[in-house]
Structures are given as C-alpha cells and as structure tokens.
C-alpha cells in the first residue's frame, strides 16, 4: 500500500469534518425541539435554550398527558393505521398477483395495466376528489382517511415486480398438484414475499401515520382529526394567525399553548417512528432496490 499523499490526507480530514457537519445539521433541529420540550417556559422566553434543556421540567409532558384533544387525535390515528394498513395490504396483493402474470396467462392484463397507469399519471385534483368523498358519505368517518388511497399503485408495482421474479416452476408444479390460484397466492407466493410485504407495510404505515391533509379537509369537527391534522392546526395555524395578526385567535391559543407544549407534542408524535426506525432503514432501502428491478 502506497503512503497517502499530503493532499490526499488533507482531503480525507476535510471530508470527515464536512460530512460530520452536514450530519449534525440533520440532528440539531430535532435536538432543539427535544430540549425545548423539557425546558421551563421562562427560559424559552429569555432565549436560553439551545441543545440542552434549561431548568429541566416535565410540566409540558404532564399537561399533554392530561390533554383530551391530544389523545382523541392519537386514537383516530391508531384507528386509521389499524384499519388502513391491512386494507392497503390486502388490496395491493390482490392487484399485484394477477398483474404479475404474463399476457399469455392473463389476456386482460394489458387492460388492467392501462387502467392503473392512468390514475398514476392523471389525478382528479383536489376539488373533484373532495366532492366525491363527501357525496359517498365518508365525511367525518375514519373511512374518508382510508378508502380514497386504499389502492397504493406504487406498492402494487413493487409487489408485482417481486412476484414476477419468483421462479415460475413453483407455480407450475403447484398447478400440477391441483392447487388453484388462490392457494398458490396464499400458500406459495405470499410466504416467499416477506421482504416486499414488509416494505409495503412500512410504506403504508408511515403514510397513514404522517397524513394530515385528508384529516383536515374531510373532518367537520376537530374531534375527528387524526394526530397530524390536530398538530397542524395547533402548530401551523397558530403561527399563521400570528403572522396575519389575528389577535383574538392568538390570545385564545397563547393562554394554552406554549412553545414547550408544542415541542412536547411534536416529540411524542415522533416516538413511534423512532421505535420502528431500524425496520424503516432496512426495508425502505430494499423497497427502493426492489422497485427498480424490472422484470
């Protein structure tokens, strides 16, 4: 091994420092929120809080624990995740399996591909979709958060590509043994597709956890808001009211919501994602690789 030149060594050191700095920049805002959530309001007003809590207190968390609004919205989100993720999964697999067949095996494949491709490329837009959701009677129901996005086309493509790459002999020998298509899907294809199923499960889990706009527009009552919609009105709308100078609204919120209260709620809503983070890291990458493998 040749000894590294001076220029090379300078580059390596600069490189490490630069990458470390960028990495820290990703962590700092999150640490700042964490610090704010554990700090006393007075210290925040005096602008003393950086990356470490000042005058450590759990007051904000105590307040949030007792907040009915917060926990109601958490419950709505839990409901949408518990119903929405399985619905996404079942429909994804049901659509992906027939589409993974060749045109000889399934003559209408071309039609269905075009059918799903159209909605990937052309969206109905906000207002018509809103009108359809309200006319189908979903307003203020958890189904308004689930049905409009019940068939995630990207996930269908991902699982379809995975199915296609499974050895064809598996299906042929199962058919010789007299297995029907449902049996082949449920007992052969699905058990072999765990990585891709894990990936799309996580995709739809994160999607349901993070969605906020649908909850905002499809609910007439704040008690039907999922967590992210509730946080949106709490954090963002207050801020916009501040900028617009809507005094009555500001006074109204100021008395209950301090920076550290918001910070505590933001942090609590991140915790579930942090808990499944190792899985996210593992499977989102596999998902990317899978999605790019074309049959």
């Amino acid at each position: 091994m040749r000894k590294a030149s001076v220029g090379r060594r300078v580059f390596v050191i600069c490189n490490y420092v630069f990458i470390a700095a960028i990495t820290i920049s990703c962590l700092v805002p999150i640490l700042n929120v964490l610090a704010l959530s554990f700090s006393d309001s007075q210290a925040i007003i005096e602008n003393k809080v950086g990356l470490m809590p000042v005058d450590f207190t759990l007051k904000a968390y105590e307040f949030v624990m007792k907040s009915n609004e917060f926990w109601t919205s958490v419950w709505v989100t839990v409901k949408r995740v518990l119903i929405g993720v399985p619905v996404n999964l079942v429909l994804t697999v049901l659509a992906a399996y027939p589409l993974s067949k060749s045109e000889q095996q399934f003559k209408s494949r071309k039609f269905y591909v075009a059918y799903f491709l159209v909605v990937m490329v052309f969206s109905g837009g906000l207002i018509p979709t809103y009108y359809v959701v309200s006319r189908t009677g979903l307003m203020d129901s958890v189904w308004s958060l689930i049905l409009p996005g019940a068939v995630p086309i990207f996930n269908v493509i991902l699982v379809m590509n995975f199915f296609r790459n499974l050895p064809r002999e598996l299906e042929e020998s199962a058919m010789l043994d007299g297995a029907g298509q449902w049996k082949i899907l449920l007992q052969i294809f699905l058990p072999l597709s765990k990585p891709s199923i894990a990936t799309v499960t996580l995709f739809s889990l994160v999607n349901h956890w993070n969605s906020w706009f649908d909850g905002l527009i499809y609910s007439n009552f704040t008690s039907h808001y999922p967590l992210q919609s509730y946080l949106q009105t709490l954090i963002v709308s207050t801020n916009q009211a501040l900028m617009e100078g809507d005094l009555s609204q500001i006074m109204n919120r100021m008395s209950v919501n301090d920076t550290n209260l918001k910070a505590a709620q933001i942090f609590i809503s991140i915790i579930p994602l942090l808990l499944i983070y190792p899985f996210l890291q593992k499977y989102f990458t596999t998902g990317l690789v899978l999605g790019s493998v074309k049959g």
Binding site: N15, L27, P29, L117, L126, I127, L273, K294
Partner: protein, 311 residues
Amino acid sequence: MKKKRGRVSTNKRSLTYHLMLLVPAVIVFIYCYVPIMGNIMAFQNFYPGLGFFKSDWVGLENFKILFMMPDTLPAIRNTLLIAVAKIIGNLIVPVTFALLLNEVRLRWFKRTVQTITYLPYFLSWVILSGILINFLSPGSTADGAGFFNSLLMKAGFIKEPVFFLGNKQTFPATIIISDIWKNFGFNTIVYLAALTGIDPGLYEAASVDGAGRFSQTIHITLPGISQIIVLMTILSIGNVLNAGFDQIFNLYSPAVYETGDIIDTLVYRLGLVNQQYSLSAAVGLFKSVVSMILIVASYRIADKYAGYKVF
C-alpha cells in the same frame, strides 16, 4: 379433448384473476376515475346543490377568468421556480454527498451518518414545519429568537434576526433548502447503491496507470453512476409542477404569497376556503393536464434511453 380442457382451465384462471382485481378496480374507479370525470365542473358554473347535471355550462369561461386573476401567473411562476430548483438540488446534493461518503473508510462513521441523515425523510411536513418555525423564528413578543438566528447572531453573521419564513425575499430559498435537507439522506442511498456496483478492478487498473483519486472519480465513478443519474433526472421531469404542497402550505403566510404561493395552494384557497369550486377545479385541471404530458413524456424517454419500464 386435451386442448379443450386446457382452454377451460385458462378461462377459469382468468376468472379468478378478474375476481381478485374486482375490489381494487372498483375502489380506483370511485375515488380516482369519478374525480377525473368530475373535472367537467371546470367547464360549469358548479353548485354542489345542483350537481353535475343541473349546473350551468359555461364553456371555457373559468379558464378565461383564471388567466385574468392576478394570483394565477405569479403562482405558476413560483411553482416552476421552486420545483425546478428543488429538482436540481435534490439531484446534485445527494450525488455529491454519496461521492464524499464513498471516500469514507470507517464503517461505523458511514453507518452513523446514514442513520442520522435518513431521519428527516420520515417526518411529516407538519412535524418538520413545527420544528422549523421554532428553529428559524426571529423572535416574537412571546419568545426569543430561535436557535438558528441566535447562532448566526452569536457568530456575527447578522446583526438583526432574519425572518426566514416571513420575508418574501428569503422564503423561496428557505423552502428549497429545507426540502433538500429533508430528502438528501434518503436520496443518497440510491446513488450509494449504484456506487457499490462499480467494478473495483477498474480502480486498481486506473491506479496502476497512475490516475489519482480525483481523476478516478471523474473517469470511473461518475460514468459508473451516470445511468442512474440520467434516469432520476428524467423521472423528475414529471414533478416540474409539484413545488411541494405539504411543505409550503405549512410554512407560508399571506406576507410571502408573492414569492411563495404555488398552484396547489392556490387551488386549495380558491376551492376549499373561498368555495369557488369551478374556478379551483379549472386550475387543478390545468395542472393535471400539463403534469400528465410531462410524466408520459418522461416515462417514454426513460424507457427509450434507460430501458426503464413502470409496469
């Protein structure tokens, strides 16, 4: 006889396939196709009480009003500006970061960096907006200046706090940079994966020939990942009208409409705040049609030059 049995079983199989696709197809029909058809309200003077069949037809009137409204053209301009800057930034930054990270030999350092830079990607724009509003705050009556302004002032870069999100000069840049910040860790992975696919033998050969690290990067690494770079660029063309509704909706305010209002936020305000359904649907339809042309074109190009197929 045998042949006939084969055909019957194929028909039965097809029937099972149709059955499996039934529910997904029906849901897609109701929540995707019906709204697409609902776009006819863009050519009507639509009242929800009257529905599609009884509302008056006005032809292209809504589109005329649309392009005469003072908000429309700035919104289109802002959309293009922000979206194109994001596309370029979301390409250059992850590629550069992947190249730099590829030079790192310490395994644990590489892993830690990836783990941390990956995190913001999973947080919703509601959460990130909450964080950024605090972090970038210039200070108000209730609170002192946020962390970033305090830091800049302590370092002596600025004397007065800057209202990054409330100032129409700084708003677009803040949006673009924070979007790149959110996504670069995730996007880096694509390029890192491509980098590990490059044959190490090429580097050895080049180093025997006396090529330094830098020229190796130029002549081996970049060509090695050029295909994926080209592919990602082509596929991003479809996003030219997507400036990021989730982000801008949560960070903008009337003070920055001039430089920060985009097509999607305009659609929202027109339709759901002002209840001008037809006008809003017209803006939305305009965007959908242009986007569709761009996406179809980009898929075609990707298929032709990179062999990329969606289905």
